[in-house]
């Protein structure tokens, strides 16, 4: 009998940028790749940022090679993005998640609340690594928003 491990976490971040600017970091493939780059050759074969649209990405040059297949379920412009996705490692399923990203105007900037519930198979990719990786990604977003402010 195989084992599935349920997990979940919530991360809050405050950014010194408007919800519109933070939202724009998620709504275009080019912008998203520019800051969420934890895999050096990650690319999207599908990027349909709309309700019911899919996002398919991966880095086939890596070993092991990770891939993401997701569907956007709800998008409220500048406020909320909700999606579900499955992840594979060398083509093998290892995790499913349902995620929401909420943006609220707060203290002259934006409060971002990232909430995720997941199931993991019993392998090298663990819920703790996912949470760590998500924190790392959200840490990149602050400095990235600063660079966008500088060039605006």
């Amino acid at each position: 009998m195989t084992i599935l491990i349920p997990a979940g976490f919530v991360i809050e971040r405050q950014y010194d940028a408007s919800p519109e600017r933070v939202f724009a970091c998620y709504s275009s493939a080019k912008e998203k790749l520019a800051w969420l780059g934890c895999h050096s050759n990650w690319s999207y074969s599908v990027f349909e940022f709309r309700e019911g649209g899919r996002e398919i990405g991966g880095d086939p040059t890596e070993s092991p090679a990770y891939a993401f297949e997701g569907v956007y379920h709800q998008i409220i412009e500048n406020r909320r993005i909700a999606y579900a996705y499955r992840m594979t490692r060398d083509g093998e399923f290892f995790a499913s998640s349902v995620t929401s990203i909420e943006l609220e105007p707060h203290a002259g900037g934006t409060k971002l609340t990232f909430s995720e519930q997941s199931l993991f198979t019993d392998g090298p990719d663990t819920p703790a690594l996912r949470e760590e990786g998500t924190n790392w990604g959200l840490d990149q977003l602050g400095p990235f928003l600063e660079t966008r402010k500088a060039t605006a």
Binding site: M1, T2, L4, P6, G8, V10, E51, G52, E69, V71, H73, Q74, I75, I76, R79, R80, A82, Y83, A84, Y85, R86, F93, S96, S97, V98, T99, S100, E102, T113, S115, Q117, S118, L119
Partner: protein
């Protein structure tokens, strides 16, 4: 706008049938139509199953006396025959954004001559209804009862 509510629940149900038999009822298009679509208070409008990893399934129901139209879209994440099914599903009223996006996991655990089904829902509830997870849990309990009737009442096709 209100915040998304994330919630998890688990419903377990024992069936007097083998994991193979329960998996058949969960995966066969004709069996699924009976226990999933043909429920009291729901009118089946569109039934487009496609039970393969990576596939999208589309279902539409009329709900209640006014037959308000609701959609349910599945994406299949993982299938291990006779052991487990992982899928995501989003539900919403036609013409409106979905009110929920969830992961649904069916695990089949052999128990004596029968099977214990453990259903786990990890849901993101996207509208302003704090009791949504409770309602959903109640709904799944009813569905898993219908699955019992399906297993008892319809011999498996050879």
């Amino acid at each position: 706008m209100t915040a998304t509510i994330h919630a998890t629940f688990v419903v377990e149900r024992a069936y007097d049938a083998s994991p193979e038999r329960v998996f058949f009822a969960l995966s066969d298009p004709d069996a699924r139509r009976r226990w999933f679509m043909d429920a009291e208070g729901f009118t089946s409008i569109t039934y487009e199953p496609d039970f393969r990893v990576g596939a999208r399934e589309f279902f539409q129901f009329g709900v209640g006396p006014m037959n308000r139209e609701m959609t349910n879209v599945h994406h299949i994440h993982d299938i291990i025959p006779n052991e487990r099914i992982v899928l995501s599903y989003a539900m919403g009223w036609v013409g409106e954004p979905p009110f929920s996006a969830s992961l649904a996991t069916f695990e089949l655990i052999p128990e004596g001559p029968g099977t214990r089904l453990r259903f786990t829902e990890q849901g993101a509830y996207l509208n302003d209804e704090a009791d949504h997870a409770l309602m959903r849990e109640h709904g799944w309990k009813q569905i898993l009862e219908r699955l019992a009737s399906e297993i008892a009442g319809h011999p498996q096709a050879a």
